[in-house]
Point group: C2
DNA sequence: CGATTCTTTGAAAACAGTCAATCTGTGTGG
DNA sequence: CCACACAGATTGACTGTTTTCAAAGAATCG
């Protein structure tokens, strides 16, 4: 089970960017020059907790997760990054401090990496890129707000329904215990909820 | 119980801004020209759910809350804005859509309002202002992440400890049922936790 | 003070977590 | 290709935590 053909991976990012802003062919060339193709097999890491994140990763294919591991070994998934999402610890990238999070691949995946410094440079050189990235951060912020609302307001069952709605199809692709972890409940609880729902 | 002297309210914002970026006296004058002094008494609203948010509000004094009301009349506090925080629904401000949230004063408060359009203009005209605002949004995003982590990983007691740590002193100022609402638990549960802790 | 708002307490019920066993599918190496 | 190991999902019985409902006690404000 390999990621399919290696070739037109940058096209996924180009298409994504063009859907968000008016990039010229030249802009895209500059961006492409800064990207690095990185296939990641299932269970391989993009970032280990304790390391400093050096890359912004755009997921062209597959799915990654960002998570912590607590004292008892329990994993808590902060977020998922399927195709057309960005992976990386913004905090570590911005501060240069070691990350609290692990990031690894849930499925065989293909990423486009942009080095921290190149990313900063691109934002300075290309105003379109900068404003698109700002918009993305913004949407991420709004999404966090929605998730906080769900976490403090909803029952386990409502959280799961909301998840199905927010990530259509994702629940079918990824292991259930990860969905449970993302929602802040145990696998068993999620299993029983799913049972009730059908 | 009135907000004290009316006079040097803008100074609070000026001081705040100067601590975050290199503003010239002229920059500050421009910003001041766009601000509107708005005292808010306890329980008065800055924004009603269903309305479009027209103002960015800087809290010079007091404390506001942003919250939703569910079908059963339960309130869920999304966040608190004490002195030197911003209040306002970013989503509504950015999109022009009606807000899902209510924002009101928990204490008698003093706000400096900046109209939506003026805010956008200031960001365009003053690069310092723009980058400071970006940094603030950024920190807000990081804080959301931390809060999500707490919400899905911690027990009720751990959440309360974390709250005390994150908002030192705030638990003493605001009603406990609001802290409970913010943490996603009932007043009774929080009361019992506090009892255990002492 | 009287009224309202807020907090505490108790008992019962609902809910989610834990532990352990079983069941299922998938991939690997022989 | 089969057998086995392994990761993942389900189920049941039990425990523990949190909610709910109801009532009573503080504290605050006008």
């Amino acid at each position: 089970m390999h990621p399919p053909h290696p070739a037109p991976t940058f096209d996924v990012l180009a298409k994504y960017l063009l859907s968000k802003g008016d990039f010229t062919a030249d802009d895209l060339r500059h961006i492409q020059a800064a990207t690095l193709l990185r296939p990641l097999r299932k269970r391989q890491y993009l970032l280990h907790a304790g390391d400093v994140d050096m890359y912004h990763g755009f997921v062209a294919q597959g799915c990654l997760r960002t998570y912590t591991v607590d004292a008892k070994g329990g994993e808590h998934i902060i977020y998922f990054a399927p195709e057309n999402w960005w992976a990386g610890d913004q905090e570590s990238l911005a501060s240069g401090q070691p990350s609290r999070y692990n990031i690894d691949a849930i499925e065989d995946s293909t990423l486009l990496l942009i080095k921290r410094d190149d990313f900063v440079r691109l934002r300075q050189e290309l105003p379109v890129f900068n404003s698109v990235i700002n918009a993305i951060l913004y949407r991420g912020f709004m999404a966090s707000q929605t998730r906080i609302h769900a976490a403090i307001s909803y029952s386990a069952e409502e959280k799961y329904r909301e998840f199905l709605h927010h990530f259509p199809g994702l629940a079918l692709r990824i292991p259930q215990h990860m969905v449970a972890s993302y929602l802040g409940m145990t696998t068993e609880t999620l299993s029983r909820i799913r049972n009730r729902l059908k």
